[in-house]
Symmetry: C2
Subunit: 488 residues, 2 copies
Amino acid sequence: MERHINGVKSSESQALVAEPEKCSPAGSFDVNSSTADEQVAESFIRQAMEIIVDEAVKKATNVQEKVCEWHSPEQLKKLLDLELRDGGEAESEILQRCRDAIRYSVKTSHPRFFNQLYAGMEPYSMVASFIAEAVKTNLYTYEVAPVFTLMEDAVLRKMIKVIGWEEGGDGIFNPGGSLSNMYAVNLARYRYCPDFKEVGMFSAPRLVILTSQECHYSISKGAALMGIGTKNVYTVPTDERGRMIPSALEEKIMLAKSEGAVPFMVNATAGTTVLGAFDPIDEIADICEKHNLWLHVDACWGGAAIMSKKHKHLLKGIHRVDSVAWNPHKMLMASLQCSAFLVRDKTSLLQHCHSARASYLFQQDKFYDVSYDTGDKSVQCSRKPDAFKFWLMWKALGSRELEQRVDRALAMARYLAEEIKKREGFRLVLEVAPVVKQRMMKKGSMMVGYQPLGEKANFFRMVVISPQVSRQDLDFVLNEIHNLGKDL
Amino acid sequence: MERHINGVKSSESQALVAEPEKCSPAGSFDVNSSTADEQVAESFIRQAMEIIVDEAVKKATNVQEKVCEWHSPEQLKKLLDLELRDGGEAESEILQRCRDAIRYSVKTSHPRFFNQLYAGMEPYSMVASFIAEAVKTNLYTYEVAPVFTLMEDAVLRKMIKVIGWEEGGDGIFNPGGSLSNMYAVNLARYRYCPDFKEVGMFSAPRLVILTSQECHYSISKGAALMGIGTKNVYTVPTDERGRMIPSALEEKIMLAKSEGAVPFMVNATAGTTVLGAFDPIDEIADICEKHNLWLHVDACWGGAAIMSKKHKHLLKGIHRVDSVAWNPHKMLMASLQCSAFLVRDKTSLLQHCHSARASYLFQQDKFYDVSYDTGDKSVQCSRKPDAFKFWLMWKALGSRELEQRVDRALAMARYLAEEIKKREGFRLVLEVAPVVKQRMMKKGSMMVGYQPLGEKANFFRMVVISPQVSRQDLDFVLNEIHNLGKDL
C-alpha cells in the first residue's frame, strides 16, 4: 500500500522516495490509502528533538550564554520570514525555523532570568509536558483520558491534604491562575444564589468582592467578565509590607452593606505579585465567618510555601478557607501551565455550578462509573492534562525535595535582600530602571522586571525561584545593575 | 563548582556520581552554588524522548496496535501507583512511568480513533508544541515572547485574510474554543454597553443571546459564567439537516423584544458538534444587520472548510460577521490546543474590553513599541504560544496541502455515508450503541462516540479528519460495528 504525507512519498515495503510532491494538484489524493508516512514523521521528530535538547535545554540553561538576543519587532520580523504561503517548505528549512524560534526566544530557563514569576528548567515536568503533547489528550472523559483523569485526581487529593482540609474537597486544573481565581468568583456567586446561573443577574442586588489593593489583576478581570463590574471590587488597604489590614477589610464590608450592596466573597492573596506579601488568612477567615462570606486565597505564587515546615506559617489559617488557587508552575517550577483550583466543598458545587450535561460527551448510559468524567466541572470543553506535569515531578523528587526547593528559594531571596542593604547608593540607581532594563536586554546579560508602586519610583522586582540560581548569580545581578546604571 | 539537582550529584569537571542523595535533610543546601545538573537533565530528557518516539509516535499510529488498552478506573489506579510520597524515585522508575502513561492512554493519533473532533498525528505541529514547552514562554509581552508574539500576529492576519475581512481585524489564540466563544459574548456585550465592564449588569435590561438548538454547549456555559443566565440563551429551531432556520431566528428576536428583553448577539455555527451542519451565515447576517445584532460564528469545527475552494461555500457570508472562533486543532490537525478568536473590529475593542493595565507587566515607559504587548487583549494572564503550532505546520505544508486535507477529509466522510446507505440493517444496529461501544473499547479495536439526538435513539457519530485514515479503515469501522453488535 502506498502512503504519502507532507509531500514525501514512500511505500510500506520500500525505502523512502526522496522526491517531494508538495505541489500535487487539488483533488489528486487517493482515498484508497492512508497518506501517513510514519517513517518520515519519525525522522523529522527525531531531528527536531536533537535541536530542542541542544538549543532549548543545554544552551538555554548555560550561564555563559545570553538570556536573550534582543531585536526590535521590525528587525525580528525580517529574521523570521513570517509569511504563510501556498507552497510548503522542505524539512531542512523547517528544522532551521525550529532553531530560529528557539534562538530568538527569551531563555526563561537561564539562571539569570528573574523577569517573571516562573524560572528555571525542570526536566521531569518538561518531559511530562512533551508526553501530554504527543498523546494529544483532552481531559473531559475517563474514556478518552483514563491515565490523566486519575493522575489529576491523585494530585488534587494530595494538594488538598497538604492544605489541611481534613474532610477532603474537590478541584480542577485550569489554563492559568487567572481562570482559577475566576472559578472562585463564580463558585462564591453560585453559593450565594444558584439561580443566577439560569436567570442571570439582571434583577440581583449589587454584588461586591473584597480584595487587597495589592491583589492580582485577574480579580478585576474576572469581575468584568462575569458581569459584576470592576467598580464592585472593593480594594482593602495594606500595611507597609503589602498585607491586607483586617480591620480595614471589616470597614469595607460594612461600607458595602451600608450602600445596600451584597458583599459575597473575600479574596486574600498569599504571595502578592509585586511584593510577595502574604495576607493574614486566619484573621481574615474570622471576619468571613462572622459575615458569612466565601473566602478564597489566591496562592498562585505563594502556595508552594505550604510544602515547607519552615515557611508554612505564612499561610496559617488556610485550612479554614473555601477555595484556593495554587500554581505549581511558579515557585515549584512545573512546566507552563500548571494551575490548580481547589475547593473545600464536598457537595459537588464545582460540577453544579459549571455543568451543561452535553449529551455527546457525558452519556449517562456508559459502561463505567461516570463520576470519573470530570469535564462538566470545567468552564471550558477541551482541557489539557496539566496535572501530569506536577505528578511526574512530584514522583521523581518526592515531597522532601519540593520542600527543599521552597526553602532554598526563600533563603536566596533573603540573601539578596541582605546584600542590597549593604550596598550604598542602590536606591538611587532604581530611579533609572527603564534605562537599565533596556541595556540589560540589548546586552542579553540578564532579565529583571521593573515597575512603580504607589508613590515610589520604578524599582526592580527580583523573582528568585529556581534551584539553578546560585549566590554568584545574585551577586552578578547587583553588580550588573550597578554597572549598567553607573553613568546615569 | 559542585552542582546537584534531583538527587543526582555531579561536578562540572567530573563524571557523574551515581549515588543518589534524595533524602538529604532539609536545610542542607548550599546557596553558594547552583543545584542544576544539566548533564543529568539532558540524559533523562534524551531517554524520555526515545520513549515518546517509540511509544507515542510509532506505536500509537500503527494500525496493527490497539487504539486503547481498556482498564476500569479501579484497575488502572493499581497499575499506575498514583500515590505521591515524601521520597523521590530513581530515573529508571520515572522512565517506566513515562512508558506507562503513554501505554494506558488512548491513542488519539491512531487511524481508528473517530471519537472526538480531533484525530491523527501532525508531526510539524507536534514538534512546535515540544518547542513551546521547552522554551517555557508566556505570551503577554513582546519582551518575554518576541518570537511567538510576532508569529501569533502573522497567523491571525493570515486567517483574517482567508476569512475575507478586507479591512483587516484583530484576534487572539485561546485555550480552547469554549473560551473563544465566550470572548465573542463578552465583546458583543461590551459593544452593546461598555459600562457593564465597570458597573456590572445589576441594573441592565435582560440581555438575550440567540443560537441554534444544535449549537455547542459553550454558549450556555458562557452565558452562565458571564451573569447572563442560561435561560437567556434563546434556541432557534433547525431544519432536518441541523441548520438554523433564518425565519425562526427572526421570530425569536421579535419574541425577546416583545418580552422587553434586549437581544444583543446571534451565534451561528459552522459545523455543529453532532451533525456537522453549517448555519446559513449570509441569511443570518441579513437579519443581524436589520436588528443591529453582533454576529458571531462558532466555526471551531467547520472553519477549516474555508481553506478549500471546493467547500468554502459552506461558510458563504462569513466576511460579513463580527467575530469567528476557529480551531485549527480540529479539522486541520494542529496539536491540542490551537483555537483562534478573530474579530472584524479595528477600534481595539478586544483590548478595551479586557484590559486591566497591570503596571508590573504593561509599563508604558518601555524602550520598544508596546502595541506588541498583547497580554491585555486576554481574559487570562498566562497564555501559551499556541499559534506557533499552526504557524510551523502551515510553513511546512503550505495553504495548498491544508486545502487537500480538508478536501480529503470531506471526501472520506462522503464515502462513509455512501457505504452506510448500501448496508441494510445498519439503522437497527445503532440502537445498541452503548453495548457496541463497550465491546470496541475492551477490544481496543477502534473508538467512535455515540449519543442520542432529539427523539432518535443513540447513534454513532463518526468524525473523519485525519489524512492517516484510508478507505480500508472506514470499511473496518462498518464491519466492526456489524460484528460487535450482530448478536444483540
